[in-house]
């Protein structure tokens, strides 16, 4: 009962409050209260994530598994940034309250946390994602094959979009008139038409399908039909 029934009832109650408030506006304050609690729990989930990372990497170091030295680096970075942020190292007080150092803005320019963001977090995350440009080029060379009609449609559209969204598109079809039926075949105009029509049609259908699926899964969870989120066994 404690491990399955009570959580299931909690989920049902929370979900039903969120849904009923749409149809019974007097329930809106209760819905808002529930949402506030949800938002607080979302912040605690960040702490849980950090705690989990600590647990995993400490285990790796203590077991001396392959790559444990890098886990030490991870733990050092984790503890370092946590200390800088939680203890507001390098944070200046507010002018109105100079005696309360912990009242200062932890993100203010020049604070320890600002240094972490500006010179560690931002450049590293930005660079990691920028690497994808290289891999998309390599994948395009090795994997994109016009084997059948569907692949030709995909690649053809990709070509139109890739060229039409840059100055190359304007240059290549500059010989076509700017008005009239033929203007629609200028690459930059063709790109706009493709996005507004076939792409919108395809994405709309995908969106409708996902919406119906989401509604169905949500209903199954709230009615207790789907209990996979409770975990297995015990």
């Amino acid at each position: 009962m404690m491990k399955r029934t009570i959580p299931m009832l909690l989920a049902m109650a929370a979900g039903i409050v969120m849904i009923l408030a749409y149809f019974f506006p007097p329930l809106t304050p209760l819905q808002d209260k529930t949402t506030v609690w949800f938002n607080i729990l979302a912040a605690v989930a960040f702490i849980l994530g950090g705690g989990n990372l600590l647990k995993v990497h400490l285990k790796k170091v203590s077991d001396r598994r392959e790559g444990w030295a890098y886990s030490m680096i991870t733990l050092a970075a984790f503890v370092g940034v946590l200390a800088i942020g939680l203890f507001k190292i390098g944070v200046n007080p507010l002018d109105e309250f100079p005696a309360q150092r912990m009242a200062g803005d932890f993100r203010a320019e020049g604070s320890g946390f600002w240094y972490v963001y500006e010179y560690v977090f931002a450049p590293l995350t930005a660079t990691i994602f920028s690497m994808l440009a290289f891999y998309v080029a390599s994948a395009a060379f090795r994997a994109f094959r016009a084997k059948n009609l569907e692949a030709i449609l995909l690649l053809g559209t990709a070509f139109v979009i890739l060229l039409g969204r840059t100055a190359a598109g304007v240059f290549l079809t500059d010989f076509l008139p700017e008005e009239g039926i033929l203007a629609n075949f200028r690459l930059e105009n063709l790109t706009v038409w493709i996005m507004n029509n076939p792409v919108t049609a395809g994405n709309r259908a995908i969106m409708i399908g996902i919406a119906l699926g989401t509604a169905s899964v949500s209903l199954k969870i709230l009615l207790g039909v789907d209990r996979s989120y409770l975990g297995g066994g015990d």
């Binding site: 949800f38 931002a122 080029a137 094959r145 840059t166 100055a167 996005m195 969106m207």
Partner: protein, 286 residues
Amino acid sequence: MYEFLRDLDRRVIFSLMALAVAVPILLQITPPEKATPIVRDAFETIEALEEGDRVYMAFDFDPASAGELQPMATAFVRHACEKKLKIYFTALWPVGPQFIKNAERDVISRDFPDMVYGEDYVDLGFKTGNEGVIKLVANDLRTQYPQDARGTPIDDIPMMEGVASIRDFDVIMNVSAGYPGTKEWVQYAVASAPDDVKLVAGCTGVQAPLLYPYYPQQMSGLLAAIKGAAEYESLVLGKYGRENEPGMYQEGLRRMAPQLSGHILMVGLIFVGNLVYFMARKRGEA
């Protein structure tokens, strides 16, 4: 030639991509841009506002997507400042507030020093909860943001007077890198009050096709990827440009040059890759 292409080391492709992007940046080429209707609609939605109208500016991105989205954010803030709108900054992503501070420092303090914090713009900061935040803001903004990002109670901020929910804003201007982002703003804010709430958004290239179905009924305009940013910048510069424009306001336009060479490279690689494939098929190897 066929064997060379078939066995081409991927590091050669990496080097070609690096050159295709680096050379135009080093040569500092800035191609001209012409706005497409979807971007022009976003611009006209803001242009239609009057001085003192409220805009809810949500910066929902992080450094990983700043390459695409920072130019949009800068252009949005500049446009709102030029129109003398009241700007309410928020973020649904944890690092969003850093970009809010950058906008304050690089745009507002530098080029619009007459704007007063608390009267012309306010930073409400970041809150956890993703769509839960939007849901709450749609009904009761003051419960979600009891203080601003500087710790000042909301009741003590002059421009928060009369602001109770998202319905009290004229336009939501959202810069979005993914989840939570524009899709959630449409689902929870616009859907809750379709006649009261207008939304213009800037998004990454990955997201853009997924958001087109929302335009124009649920979204008044969309800046899709760096091209959208460049087009919007060209519109803002066209209307409000000054002599010796700071380079910061043309970041999107500058990034279109490496886009051009990068895209041509991609088309070339796909073409050559397929050539190798058909040659292999002819030789019976594929």
